[in-house]
């Protein structure tokens, strides 16, 4: 039986549950992002992203998502948001920037949406 043949979790709109299946799919991408805890690694990525991605064995979809700094595509390629946050940090993106990108809103509109939920 292939790992892709089973699913433990039913669907929640707009949400990807990061489970064993995703963890296997995204391992190389998440491992690279985990390395970004170290300042030297962040600098190495910025100096030569293609070489750095190759070193961690990212697949084509993962590489393209990183080149595009596209968070939804990184999640689709198996990325886990806690590790992707370290990738976002390299580019000084806040979680509001990341939220706006994923929801197709301006950052200001996204921040207003957050405030409105407190009313």
């Amino acid at each position: 039986m292939d790992i892709n043949d089973f699913g433990h979790h039913s669907h929640i709109e707009g949400t990807t549950l990061f489970d064993g299946k995703r963890a296997m799919k995204g391992y190389a991408l998440n491992k690279m992002c985990y390395s970004f805890n170290a300042g030297d690694a962040r600098a190495a990525y910025l100096a030569d992203p293609e070489a750095y991605m190759a070193q961690f064995g990212l697949n084509d979809a993962q590489k393209q998502a990183c080149r595009d700094e596209n968070v939804l595509a990184m999640i689709a390629a198996g990325g886990n948001i806690y590790y992707l946050a370290k990738f976002a940090g390299i580019f000084k993106l806040s979680v509001q920037d990341v939220g706006a990108q994923q929801t197709g809103m301006t950052v200001e509109a996204f921040k207003q949406k957050l405030v409105d939920q407190g009313k």
């Binding site: 707009g14 990807t16 549950l17 990061f18 491992k31 805890n37 300042g39 957050l114 939920q117 407190g118």
Partner: protein, 281 residues
């Protein structure tokens, strides 16, 4: 014997660390959040706990997906705050209490909780921000207790159930109360409340659910154990599963607690932020 005085909960958002570093406590955005802490400071000054058990969830500094413990307990002499990717200045190491750590690990494994013990554990915002909020200047605050970190997995499913989290706390209580020294212990539950960082539902916050959880956790935590993990993600958001830390803390406080303070504010960063101080009876 060691005695648990009470429990304190808080959200542990990275932006809070930045706000503290930049002295933004009275800024209009931050003030409603920081207003939740003076009563906690007073209580800590009056009670001066010797040990803080900090229950939090590591966000990818102490652990990676290569080996992901469901429940990990620190057993080190000190815990280093390391760079978690954003270049925030690191705090000094937090002194540990390894004798009590090992006593807890022995007791809980005897009680059939399978614990990962950690003689080295780098700590990040999940652990550090609550310490800074409760003991300003931490770890250099004069009353800073010795720390025991406990991290539960909310990075990767399967995560623990609400029932398991509450029972973990109950077992932790038994282990602490059997420690032979007369030490005063405070237990932190750090994380939550509702938030979601990833996907098209990013920015989701659920005020009604958060307020229900803050009410039930005081006097009816058992009722919360009927919430499935799937429902927890649906109602609290993908990262709102951090409420499990509050359940673990609550289990350690015994049957009856008195709520001494309660604050809730939306939003701090992407999160519904909650703070509570519960004293054991």
């Amino acid at each position: 014997m060691a005695r648990i005085l009470g429990g304190i909960t808080t959200s542990h958002i990275p932006a809070v660390g930045n706000a503290i570093a930049n002295n933004l406590q009275d800024d209009p955005y931050w003030k409603p959040f920081f207003d939740g802490y003076p009563k906690v400071h007073e209580w800590l000054a009056d009670n001066k706990p010797d040990i803080v058990i900090n229950i939090y969830n590591d966000h990818g500094l102490g652990f990676f997906l290569d080996k992901m413990p469901t429940f990990a307990i620190g057993a080190a002499h000190e815990y280093k705050n390391e760079d978690e990717g954003w270049g925030i200045p690191q705090l000094d190491p937090f002194p540990g209490a390894p004798e009590m750590s090992w006593h807890i690990i022995e007791g809980m494994v005897e009680d059939e909780f399978d614990i990962t013990s950690c003689q080295e554990l780098a700590v990040e915002h999940g652990f550090v921000v609550p310490m800074q909020l409760f003991w300003p200047g931490a770890p250099l605050h004069p009353d800073m207790p010795k720390a025991i970190p406990i991290s539960a997995n909310t990075v990767q499913h399967p995560i623990p159930t609400m029932n398991r989290a509450l029972n973990f706390g109950k077992s932790l209580r038994k282990a602490i109360e059997s420690f032979p020294e007369d030490l005063k212990v405070v237990v932190l539950g750090a994380g939550g409340l509702s938030h979601q960082l990833d996907g098209e539902r990013a920015g989701f916050i659920n005020k009604d659910f958060d307020q229900m959880c803050m009410e039930k956790i005081v006097s009816a935590p058992e009722e919360l154990t009927s919430i499935s993990r799937h429902d927890l993600v649906r109602q609290a958001g993908a990262q709102g599963t951090e409420f499990l830390m509050w359940m673990m803390m609550r289990g350690a406080l015994g049957d009856n607690v008195t709520e001494l303070t309660h604050n809730y504010h939306i939003p701090i960063s992407n999160t519904g932020a909650g703070t509570m101080l519960l004293e054991c009876e």
